[in-house]
């Protein structure tokens, strides 16, 4: 490890550390533009010049380009270096507009900071300034090319890091231009990061444009809850409104970046239609009275029809505190345990996944980046956990081979091998891999018998040769058997190498829900309501209409209820149909604990005080409103209201809930640990050893590897999409603009068999209803599969997310023929 001296401070750093990074460890921030820890050193801007006084390198050098070496003596304050850096700033400012007051970057602009600190203040350049034409880049980003200082961060991020093609560098010399070949929406679902990575105001966040300066905002750390990864974010809020999210560095999860679903999904918080008023008997009421009313009615129904007549539905987007309080409420009242998952298959899938995990084998997103081989089984990363796709890209850039085994036409911003395999074949396929890997592990010659054209043999070969393989497994498509085989594969590989297992779960707090769910699924609850067994339903922060595909059946069922109590911050049929409504707060207001798919416990505090966004109640500038109290300030944290419903057994604080979980619920033991305010996160280790683990394994021990093929036709899959299928982000106006129209995708051979062609409108017939969509013939997908993009408001006439559909139930809709008379 080289030892060097920077500004008279000695420091020892790992070999390969650049001098700029070594200085950073000492707290010396050498000015920089082109250097970025995630993008590396390229020596373009020349702002990081420092003086090497002694040692193997001498003279003025770029600190981002020089590896720290023994005996180096570096000065960042040497007059020549300071002067050179001042000169670099003068060059960069030659053409830069002098209108910081109208630039949205102002206040958090690296160019402002470095210009002021460099000492350049007097203009010597007399010429005209260069001007560029800006482009329309879609709803998320504003483009102002005149502010560019040509650090190349954007193009390096967009093309190299994120693997997208439609933003690049054009022209040479002082005409270089960063943009698209023509105006148009940026194609990458990671484009929003450009606003974070551009050090000037060229790429700024469009929806928050002119909403405030950095110092105007209430800013606080939080986590993203739009998928199970739990990327870290910074929230900016102003005037009681979430204005903007940025990625916050987390070394284990998202690194420096986040996806656009996460970045722009927040709008539900301050939406005009958000229900903020407690209601019972159709009348606004105060929360305490409403709670009391709800408690009385629930108790009386339980007394009248028995405890089993009360059902509760919990949520995957709720905090652990709310989930725990709901479980405790059911325990205390003797009601059946709450349902958290939409259907039985999903419940079994997620519980199986969670039970597969234990500390030695489950790995973080960072480990995926560092893997040398990745098998993705039954998961569409870009749709189900977008940042996973970016991690896979980094793995691939570092030399890993990525193999995706999935029936869908998977698209990723990287080179990968796709084995399109029907969902119900997945378990057998993984089992096959286990056998091959098992044999080869002992007999290195065994693989050579496999034909190289056999993709599975190649995948097995890849795994055998790998040192850090990771098995990624979804929980949307794969059945229990497949998830178990994926876990087994990771464990088998573990015998000889540093293997990892990485699950993608269906929601931000799906992990803890899996540990808590002791009862039925939502679908079961709905069936029980329909049969009249359940008379009262308590819905907590979830919209069953979003999760249960057959909306009509659900509507009919809910109509039979004597009492529907809903707690939520979202507007929807579940809140509108409720007899009793209680408004809850969002993560941005009350924070909470979230446990990501890896079992990583992340606590977040609220970012803003509650209340209706000022913009919605005042249209003056600056916004002003006189009166008592804060309008729309009724919502309370769900855990608090649930705890009030349980009466005397109530929790006094959210910390009590975590302690209760740690004590009472197997799998949560690690929550006991006093959590340091900063530093390493807490990881749950639910391991097969715990009771819940055994419970999960029991649930799932029955499933055969190959479920019987229920008679011909196609396997109809409803599949997640990056934008448009997640419950919170699908409400965001800026993301709705990015949504593609969901299509039904089918392999060419099947399309030929059914005499259908690309672009045909088709109707899929179910027992009682039709589903209309457009056909997309995709050549990289499994035969026997019809994959339909899930919509957030589906009119899906089947009971399950997935179904079997007979050939004759697929009809082409005749578009009216236009006859042209000769």
């Amino acid at each position: 490890m080289p030892q060097l001296t920077i500004d008279d401070h000695p420091i020892e750093v790992p070999t390969g550390t650049k001098v700029i990074a070594a200085a950073e460890q000492l707290g010396i921030m050498i000015p920089r533009f082109c250097y970025h820890a995630a993008l590396g050193s390229v020596g373009a801007c020349r702002l990081c010049a420092v003086m090497f006084l002694d040692g193997p390198v001498k003279g003025l050098q770029m600190s981002c380009m020089v590896d720290a070496q023994d005996g180096m003596v570096v000065s960042t304050t040497d007059a020549k270096a300071v002067d050179f850096r001042r000169q670099v700033i003068e060059w960069l400012m030659l053409h830069h507009p002098h209108d910081c007051p109208v630039c949205d970057e102002g206040g958090h602009c690296l160019l402002q900071d470095h210009t002021v600190s460099s000492g350049h203040a007097i203009r010597r350049y007399r010429g005209a300034k260069r001007t560029h034409r800006d482009q329309y880049l879609g709803p998320l980003l504003q483009h102002e090319m005149n502010r560019c200082i040509q650090c190349y961060r954007c193009s390096r991020y967009y093309q190299d890091f994120a693997g997208a093609r439609d933003l690049s560098v054009m022209q040479i010399g002082n005409k270089v231009y960063f943009g698209r070949d023509r105006d148009g929406t940026l194609q990458s679902p990671f484009a929003g990061n450009l606003a974070d990575i551009c050090p000037t105001g060229v790429f700024t966040d469009k929806p928050s444009r002119y909403m405030g300066r950095r110092w105007d905002y209430e800013r606080s750390p939080a986590v993203c809850i739009h998928c199970s990864l739990g990327c870290n974010i910074v929230v900016s809020a102003r005037y009681r409104e979430v204005v903007r999210l940025e990625a916050r560095f987390n070394p284990h999860i998202n690194g420096y970046f986040m996806c656009d679903r996460g970045r722009h999904g927040y709008t539900y918080t301050s939406a005009a239609g958000r229900p903020r008023q407690a209601i019972f008997e159709g009348q606004p009421a105060d929360v305490d009275a409403t709670l009391q009313h709800a408690a009385e009615r629930l108790t009386s129904i339980a007394r009248m029809h028995g405890l089993a007549a009360v059902a509760c539905i919990g949520s995957l987007r709720s905090s652990v505190e709310a989930q725990g309080a709901l479980v405790r409420l059911c325990n205390a009242q003797g009601w059946p345990a709450p349902a958290f998952f939409d259907d039985d298959e999903r419940l079994a899938a997620v519980q199986t996944a969670v039970a597969q995990q234990h500390a030695q084998v489950h790995v973080s997103l960072r480990a995926v980046e560092n893997a040398d081989a990745v098998i993705v089984a039954g998961c569409d990363p870009i749709a189900e956990a977008p940042m996973l796709a970016l991690a896979l890209r980094q793995a691939q850039r570092r030399g890993a081979t990525i193999v995706v085994i999935d029936p869908r036409p998977i698209e990723l911003p990287l080179a990968f091998q796709h084995i399109p395999l029907a969902a119900d074949q997945l378990a057998a396929c993984l089992d096959d891999l286990i056998t091959r890997v098992g044999t080869v592990a002992h007999d290195p010659g065994a693989l050579e018998t496999g034909s190289p054209a056999d993709p599975l043999a190649a995948a097995a070969d890849l795994l055998v040769r790998s040192r850090r393989p990771v098995i990624v497994c979804g929980t949307d498509l794969p059945n229990v058997a497949a998830i178990r085989q994926a876990g087994k594969l990771a464990r088998v590989l573990r015998e000889n190498r540093d293997s990892g297992l990485f699950h993608v779960l269906p929601g931000a707090n799906a992990y803890s829900a899996a540990l808590l769910n002791r009862g039925r699924s939502m679908a079961q609850v709905a069936a029980d309501i329909a049969q009249g067994a359940v008379k009262a339903l308590l819905v907590v922060e979830t919209d069953p209409f979003h999760h249960l595909p057959n909306r009509k059946r659900l509507t009919d069922a809910l109509a039979r209820l004597e009492l529907l109590v809903t707690l939520d911050y979202l507007d929807g049929p579940h809140t509108r149909k409720a007899h009793v409504f209680l408004p809850s707060t969002t993560i941005f207001e009350s924070g909470g604990t979230f446990i990501n798919q890896e079992g990583r416990v992340q606590k977040t505090a609220g970012a803003l005080q509650g209340g209706t966004a000022l913009r919605l109640v005042s249209n003056t500038h600056p916004p002003r409103l006189y009166g008592q109290g804060i309008p729309g300030n009724q919502p309370m944290p769900a855990w608090l209201m649930l705890s009030a419903l349980s009466g005397e057994s109530a929790f006094g604080s959210s910390a009590d809930i975590l302690q209760w979980l740690a004590r009472e619920v197997p799998g949560f033991e690690n929550l006991k640990a006093a959590q340091p305010p900063t530093g390493e996160d807490l990881l749950l280790d639910s391991a097969g050893r715990s009771e819940i683990g055994r419970h999960c394994l029991d649930v799932t021990s029955e499933s055969p590897l190959n479920p019987p093929n229920s008679g011909g036709g196609l396997h109809l899959l409803s599949t997640e999409r990056t934008f448009g299928s997640e419950e919170l982000s699908c409400r965001s106006p800026q993301l709705i603009e990015l949504e593609s129209t969901p299509q039904a995708r089918l392999a060419p051979s099947e399309a030929r068999r059914l005499a259908l062609k690309d672009g045909d409108r088709i109707a899929l017939a179910a027992e009682n209803g039709f589903y209309e969509t457009t056909l997309k013939v995709a050549d990289n997908m499994a035969e026997g599969t019809l994959a339909v993009g899930r919509h957030c408001h589906p009119d899906w006439p089947w009971d399950g997310r997935h179904a079997r559909i007979a050939d004759r139930s697929i009809k082409k809709i005749d578009q009216r023929e236009t006859k042209i008379n000769p």
């Binding site: 373009a44 801007c45 020349r46 000169q87 007399r126 560098v169 010399g173």
Partner: protein
């Protein structure tokens, strides 16, 4: 006086066909190298010949080849890249060789590729060298048909694929690492060094980039030996050199002369002296990116070390002669404008500094110069110096300016004082 490089170029006719070239002794060196010498013997011979690169930097060719990893474990494939981009203003020596005797260069390429055991070679040709392009196409087809290219050349077991690539036409493509990026289909921006191309080059594999003229010397070195090659020269650097002269001389052109002839000899004996009515004022000895020399330097030998000692560079060896009727400020303005336009745009000093200099020089030339301007110009000659920029374009670009300020500062001052160009 022996003129190996141009001996096949006869006035008034096109290049030799393969048969003519062979009849004149062509491809004998190739036969010798492939059938009687090991790759390391070829490199060794070139090393002993003191051949220095003719692309501008003057690096010892044999030494450069010796950095290429050899043997079984060496990364494969290895590449040889011929730098035929020649966009240096005032330079036209490679064109002369390419149009005049393509087989000579092809033979040089095959021998050099053999020396480093490269299996693929590229000729990276300047965009508008159409005559050379057509000539090369014909010659390549002939060489291919005759078995000098392809598999198992002359039964030696050595094979070479030689590809002709036409540049999209930017000066920076001549910088060897930008050239490699361009060949890979990327933006032509230089790469940071180390690693150097002989170790990590085209598509990450060991790659030698050599100038056209450099490679044209190789067959002669192999055929006649290192000692003979050294003896051609009047200096420590071996061989002859294609020198050129442009500007207001009587007979602008290019000539093959022993390395180390003096500037005066080229100017007076070969270029025929200055035209009537003008007199010599200065010279850019090695192309647009070299420092000006003056009448005091006329007896400097045109070899790498001597020109360097005089405060300039041999560069490409093709000089631009400046007469007393040409405005130095205008000349420097013209050159800097070219370099500003050709900056790749990667690093700040070059991308922003050169256009600023262009603006200032334009202002001075138009009579709108201000007293502080000379100071800004002078500062930039240091600020854009080696090490401060990412590649050698900008340091080269400011060389004429720096020497103009050294020898002709009064010209700049007069422009500013009189608020006009005294030469107009």
């Amino acid at each position: 006086m022996e003129k190996p490089l141009t001996r096949n170029m006869l006035p008034g006719r096109g290049p030799f066909s393969l048969a003519e070239y062979e009849k004149a002794g062509g491809y004998q060196a190739l036969r010798k190298a492939l059938t009687t010498m090991s790759p390391s013997e070829v490199t060794e011979t070139v090393q002993q010949s003191n051949l220095r690169g003719r692309g501008g930097a003057g690096f010892y060719t044999g030494r450069k080849w010796s950095f290429v990893p050899m043997g079984e474990d060496a990364p494969q494939p290895k590449y040889l890249v011929v730098n035929a981009d020649e966009m240096e203003p005032g330079t036209f020596k490679d064109r002369f060789l390419l149009e005049g005797d393509p087989h000579q260069m092809i033979e040089g390429i095959i021998i050099s590729a053999y020396a480093i055991q490269a299996s693929v070679a590229y000729i990276f040709l300047r965009a508008n060298y159409d005559v050379a392009y057509r000539g090369l196409q014909v010659a390549l087809a002939e060489a291919q048909a005759k078995g000098y290219l392809g598999e198992n050349i002359l039964g030696s077991g050595f094979g070479l694929t030689l590809l002709l690539h036409e540049s999209a036409g930017r000066y920076i493509c001549g910088e060897e690492t930008a050239l490699l990026n361009a060949l890979e289909g990327k933006r032509a921006i230089p790469r940071s060094k180390p690693p150097f191309p002989p170790v990590v080059g085209l598509w990450g594999k060991p790659t030698i980039a050599n100038n056209v003229e450099t490679l044209c010397n190789v067959p002669h070195i192999i055929f006649h030996g290192a000692e003979w090659f050294r003896s051609l020269s009047r200096s420590a650097d071996g061989g002859t050199k294609i020198y050129g002269a442009s500007g207001k001389v009587r007979r602008p052109g290019a000539w093959e002369l022993p390395l180390g002839v003096t500037i005066r000899e080229i100017l007076e004996e070969h270029a025929g002296g200055m035209r009537d009515g003008v007199s010599f004022r200065a010279v850019l000895p090695g192309g647009a990116s070299t420092d000006l020399l003056t009448a005091d330097h006329l007896d400097v030998p045109m070899d790498f070390n001597a020109v360097q000692e005089a405060g300039s560079r041999l560069g490409t060896g093709t000089m631009v002669v400046v007469d007393d009727r040409t405005c130095i400020v205008g000349l420097v303005h013209n050159l800097i404008r070219f370099f500003a336009q050709e900056s790749c745009g990667w690093c700040t000093p070059c991308r922003e500094g050169l256009p600023w200099l262009t603006d200032i020089l334009a202002a001075i030339e138009k009579g709108r110069g201000e007293p502080g301007d000379i100071e800004i110009l002078r500062q930039h000659t240091h600020l854009l110096g080696p090490g401060n920029t990412f590649c050698a374009l900008a340091p080269g670009a400011v060389e004429p300016l720096q020497s103009a300020l050294k020898y002709f500062e009064e010209d700049f001052e007069r422009h500013i004082r009189e608020q006009r160009c005294p030469w107009k």
